[in-house]
């Protein structure tokens, strides 16, 4: 399992890359391996929207399940990844790179501190992988 050390994580398997006031959000390698082959991604939010932490930002459908992606931290959407609609398989092949879902301007940086670091997330995953 790949868990980059520079990212923050949630219990619902989203990752966040924080760069100054900007956060990039996606789903983790653990999430994609649990879902198996992703066949469809829908991101029903638009740039400019102000969203609260936990807002529903995407739906991922795989050959065996459908899962919702929730926002790990409140903020204003800067951009969503349009490529995923046509190439949902990027979530399997490059979950931390090409398969980013949205970028947002962080509105409450204290929320970032509540997220897990890579070590904590790895420990958390190891408790539920069987």
């Amino acid at each position: 399992m790949n868990t980059p050390a520079n990212l923050k994580y949630t219990k619902t398997d989203e990752w966040v890359l924080v760069e100054g006031k900007t956060a990039t959000v996606g789903v983790t390698d653990f999430a994609q391996s649990q879902l198996s082959d992703v066949v469809f991604v829908e991101i029903p939010v638009d740039a400019g929207e102000e969203l609260k932490k936990q807002a529903h930002i995407a739906t991922i459908e795989s050959v065996k399940a459908a899962a919702d992606v929730n926002l790990p931290t409140s903020g204003k959407v800067i951009e969503t990844n349009q490529k995923l609609a046509d190439t949902p398989e990027l979530i399997n092949s490059d979950p931390y790179g090409a398969a980013w879902m949205l970028k947002l301007e962080i509105s409450d940086s204290t929320e970032i501190n509540q997220l897990m670091d890579a070590k904590a997330y790895e420990d958390y995953c190891s408790t539920r992988s069987h």
Binding site: F40, E42, P44, T59, A65
Partner: protein, 450 residues
């Protein structure tokens, strides 16, 4: 009989919640209502019961005995004998898509054929495996449009010339939604409005515009300018269509409809007492993940053989729970099969012939009725197999008197539109002979005198 618990289990459960008996669970119900004495007659034998039932049945007046010009959403058509005999085969005899669907390849193939037929007939790209009836299919169009705009567009615009039952069921489905406002245009005088009358009411907040084709009054309108205006505001257009009429008319798909729904009953399903009927739902491929209900897809198995599966199920309620577009997980499998058999037996030319017979006979009837002094026939707009007759006296009186001549004269429009007291909606199908029509005309002339 289904017995869920043994005596021991029941006692165990009562003990763990601290109740002595099942009766105690009902102690909050006032005693006199708790176990009321029912005034029931003594039991009878099967033979006696059957005789009694036959007596009740004989009291019914049915379209088998009456000359029928009643339509208004449900139509009497000829059903080839093969429909029923194939339908009753044990292999098909379930109302549902099976719980372990892929084991029933025959059923899935039939549903797949149904979807293909409905998509072709309506001129759309995808169809689902059916709904309960035309009204619930219409309601699902509203639900889909709502979710398509993620609840951000609150306005649904209805033509007053759609089947009033469809309007009511759509309202029942959607009135509980937050932020949904349903508006009907021209209810006071529906014959004065047409699809283009809706155009000024479409806004950037409109999710869905619903019209019927032919409309509830049988009229056929060109929907292309409405479609253009709906799309210019970014909204969706749903068309409620009569599938028999589509054997003859330009498809809603060609007009640019985004959703086509309708009542499938005319396709080989008897009138019965209003059900079971069949709802169909077709749309464009881009909305395939937004539609309610089951979808059957064709694929190949590991050996390369053709096979059928339930597909795109991840969008459905049994997986997506509260996030699914609709909570419908079921369909009207047996009736969808009836429609499939009916259409297969008729073929493209057969369906066109049925539609053409309906059209020609209805026009013959309309022409004849228009010649009766005091009667006016609504024919400013082209119509299919149903038309409005303005009578010299109340339509309710007319139909009551026609019944004395064993004629079901039509639908009294005041039942749905209070200020259309003298208006009668007359439907003519291929089953109405020239003699039937002439007798109707003769009788109308007779009963309109006091």
């Amino acid at each position: 009989m289904f017995i869920p618990h043994t005596q021991a289990e029941t006692e165990g459960m009562l003990k763990s919640i601290g109740v002595k008996s099942i009766e105690d669970l009902f102690s909050v119900v006032p005693e006199k209502f708790r176990f009321p004495k029912l005034d029931l007659p003594d039991g009878v034998t099967e033979m006696e019961a059957l005789a009694e039932m036959k007596e009740y049945a004989a009291a019914n007046e049915t379209v088998e005995d009456l000359i029928c010009f009643l339509g208004a959403g449900a139509y009497r058509h000829y059903i080839p004998a093969a429909v029923d005999s194939l339908l009753r085969r044990g292999e098909f005899f379930t109302a549902y898509t099976p719980y372990q669907p892929e084991i029933s390849q025959g059923t899935l193939q039939a549903v797949f054929e149904f979807q293909t037929l409905m998509a072709n007939l309506t001129g759309m790209e995808v169809a689902n495996a059916s709904h309960y009836d035309g009204a619930t299919a219409t309601a699902e169009a509203g639900v889909m449009a709502y979710h398509n705009f993620r609840g951000k567009r609150s306005h649904i615009l209805l033509s007053s010339s759609i089947n009033p039952q469809n309007r009511e069921v759509l309202c029942t489905y959607l009135c509980g939604y937050e932020n949904v406002e349903i508006e009907t245009i021209g209810l006071d005088n529906p014959l004065q409005s047409n699809p283009d009358s809706l155009i000024p009411y479409i806004t950037e907040n409109t999710s869905l515009v619903v019209v019927q084709y032919p409309d509830f009054f049988g009229r056929i309108f060109d929907l292309s300018s409405l479609a253009t205006e709906v799309h210019s505001k970014g909204a969706l257009l749903a068309v409620i269509a009569n599938p028999i009429a589509l054997g003859l008319l330009k498809t809603p798909g060609e007009f640019g409809a985004d959703i086509v729904v309708g009542e499938g009953q005319p396709l080989g399903i008897p009138l019965s007492f209003g059900g079971p009927y069949l709802g169909f739902f077709t749309t464009k491929k881009e909305y395939v993940r937004k539609i309610a209900g089951r979808l059957v897809g064709e694929t190949i198995d590991v050996k390369g053989n053709r096979g059928y599966v339930l597909t795109l199920t991840a969008r459905e309620q049994h997986i997506r729970r509260e996030k699914a577009t609709s909570n419908i997980c079921s369909n009207q499998g047996l009736m969808a099969l009836a429609a499939t058999i009916y259409l297969s037996l008729l073929g493209k030319n057969g369906l066109r012939q049925v539609a053409n017979l309906c059209y020609q006979k209805a026009h013959y009837a309309a022409e004849k009725i228009a010649k009766i002094p005091g009667f006016l026939v609504e024919k400013k707009t082209p119509f299919f197999h149903e038309f409005v007759v303005h009578c010299p006296i109340s339509a309710a009186t007319i139909t009551e008197r026609l019944l004395d001549n064993q004629i079901l004269g039509g639908f009294e429009l005041s039942k749905a539109f209070p200020n259309m007291e003298n208006d009668l909606l007359v439907a003519v199908t291929e089953l109405n002979s020239k003699e039937d029509i002439d007798f109707l005309v003769e009788s109308l002339a007779e009963v309109s005198h006091d």
